[in-house]
């Protein structure tokens, strides 16, 4: 059996990253993958990189990494709402200013996807979707047939994505799977402060997906965010578990489950 730990969207949450990586090591996983977006939202963006290197995390580029690496003017997050864009600008400008040239250079070396052969299973890792780095794939707006189309186009048995910020798993016909591995950077808009990573176990044609809650020191992160004068709306999300920004990208079902 091969067990992989997968996560995305660190969003500079080095506290959750450290806790998640220690947990994955305790579970003796065979490899750890990060599906992109190391920076954004949180404080001290450079603090995540030593953990990624120390634990040998294999990373791909998210839209944020693509922007930072290319010196682009915005995060390519895919928002259209003016308020969402306002907060995205604050976050991106802070992250760009506080990410070292060395780390930006490293981000430039990352691939935008990874194809793995795991026990005969073809696994594709990408950030948004196989066709767009910043396509939002939500559980309530991703029909089975559409996911099967993406799997077919990609010649994959399992596709893992992140980007949207909320985890889900869809088993499909012929032992195929589509997984949004969730994010470590901020909670899931459910009033709980923990974040999530994904454990993917493959043994022959048997695939198991387990979402692992990560209870980390969110008060420490919130204090850092305050010290860095990051928006109080961001801090509120970390300390309450409810999204206060990026709300307009949520489809109806996911939005209705939240508070705002």
């Amino acid at each position: 059996m091969t067990r992989l730990a997968l996560f995305g969207g660190i969003y500079s949450n080095y506290c959750a990253l450290e806790t998640a990586l220690a947990d994955a090591r305790r579970r003796k996983v065979d490899a750890v993958y990060c599906l992109g977006d190391m920076g954004a939202f949180g404080p001290y963006p450079d603090r995540v990189y030593p953990f990624l290197h120390e634990y040998g995390v294999q990373c791909i580029q998210g839209n944020y990494d693509n922007s930072l690496a290319g010196g682009l003017a915005d995060c390519q997050c895919g928002y259209t709402d003016p308020r969402d864009n306002h907060f995205a600008r604050i976050s991106y400008n802070y992250t760009f200013r506080n990410t070292s040239e060395e780390n930006k250079s490293w981000l430039r070396t990352l691939p935008s996807s990874l194809s793995l052969q795991v026990e005969g299973c073809r696994v594709l890792l990408c950030h948004g979707s196989p066709r767009k780095m910043n396509e939002f794939l939500w559980e309530s707006t991703s029909p089975d047939a559409f996911l099967e189309y993406l799997l077919g186009q990609s010649d994959a048995d399992i596709i893992c994505v992140t980007h949207s910020g909320i985890k889900w798993h869809r088993p499909l016909a012929r032992d195929r799977h589509f997984i949004n591995v969730g994010v470590l950077g901020r909670p899931e808009n459910d009033g709980k402060m923990n974040v999530w990573y994904t454990l993917l176990s493959i043994e022959g044609s048997v695939v198991e997906v387990e979402f692992i809650p990560v209870d980390y020191d969110f008060q420490r992160l919130a204090a850092d965010m305050k010290a860095e004068s990051l928006p109080k709306e961001f801090i509120e999300t970390i300390t309450t578990g409810w999204w206060t920004t990026c709300l307009e990208v949520l489809p109806h079902k996911e939005r209705a489950r939240g508070r705002f």
């Binding site: 839209n63 928002y79 793995l116 767009k132 939500w138 559409f146 079902k253």
Partner: protein, 306 residues
């Protein structure tokens, strides 16, 4: 003159002109000239909708939309939405005026029993009665707000769509004014989607200074992300056949066939309206499923494990 040809990459978005051009009001900016007694396009049958939903689902459609005219004029709309939601997330575009308590109850029941999201997009054109009704007609403001409140009371969060008629400087304050109006009407968590005004239909007559002489050229599309063009990912089913997109429904040359299966796979962009997507992207879709932005690189590195 050669017009740039755009092929359908994948049918992500399937649109139904479910009530044709029949509408209970006649907005001054209506891009397809819908209104009372306007039957340029007629109603679609439930059977036709089912057939085309199934056809699109076989190809992996991502999202389905019902528009008009006013979709709630169609007696079978509820059954169509239920059927559509079995296959894909579904959106209905409405002026809200016909959403009474009985219909709001039905919509809430449909939404609760679906795995995919149901989006109800209610159009509004001003945050005061005076502003809105100048565009949409007398009494429309109050009825639309009442519909939004009815939906909200039942746990539904309609997406209020507004055509942009203000400048950048007023963007935040205008949206806040809309939010305040909606909250005061009983919609505690308003969701708003802003659309650009389209230089089409009655809007063309209304805003005479809108430039209309711009056509797309091959040069303009060189290096341009074709995913931003609706024609690369969408089709519209009407009672008179399949059209390339909702915006071109009044152009006979934009008819591509009688069914999705027999429709031409590409279209030459020969209309001013095509510039809309070039400038604004696929505005007709929902924000939650836009696919703008950097492409994932097809050539991927290969890591190997055990």
């Amino acid at each position: 003159m050669n017009f740039p040809e755009v092929a359908l990459t994948h049918l992500d978005n399937l649109w139904f002109q479910v009530s044709g051009t029949l509408c209970n009001i006649a907005c001054t900016h209506c891009f397809n000239n819908s209104g009372p007694n306007i039957r340029t396009f007629g109603f679609l049958s439930l059977e036709k909708v089912r057939e085309e939903v199934e056809s699109a689902a076989r190809g992996g459609v991502k999202e389905i939309f019902f528009t008009g005219g006013e979709p709630f004029l169609h007696a079978d709309l509820g059954d169509m939405l239920s059927f559509s939601l079995r296959h894909a997330p579904t959106t209905v575009l409405t002026n809200g005026m016909l959403i009474n308590d009985r219909i709001a109850d039905r919509l809430a029941q449909i939404e609760r029993s679906a795995n995919y999201s149901l989006e109800i997009r209610v159009s509004l054109d001003g945050y005061t009665e005076q502003m809105n009704d100048a565009v949409r007609g007398q009494g429309v403001f109050r009825q639309a707000l009442a519909a939004v409140a009815r939906l909200s009371q039942r746990g539904l969060l309609p997406l209020v769509t507004i055509v942009r008629t203000w400048g950048d400087a007023e963007e935040i304050s205008t949206l806040e004014a809309f939010s305040s109006t909606l909250r005061a009407a009983g919609y505690a968590r308003p969701r708003i989607k802003v659309l650009p005004a389209l230089p089409l239909g009655r809007e063309l007559e209304r805003s005479a200074d809108t430039p209309t002489d711009t056509l797309l050229t091959d040069d303009m599309l060189e290096g341009f992300d074709h995913d931003l063009l609706m024609c690369s990912n969408s089709r519209l089913v009407t009672d008179r056949g399949v059209w390339v997109c909702p915006l071109l429904v009044e152009k006979p040359d934009a008819r591509l066939g009688s069914t999705l299966a027999d429709s031409s796979p590409s279209y030459a962009l020969r209309h001013n309206a095509c510039v809309t997507c070039y400038h604004y992207g696929t505005i007709c879709g929902n924000i939650s499923s836009l696919i703008e932005g950097p492409a994932a690189q097809p050539e991927s590195d290969t890591g190997r494990l055990s």
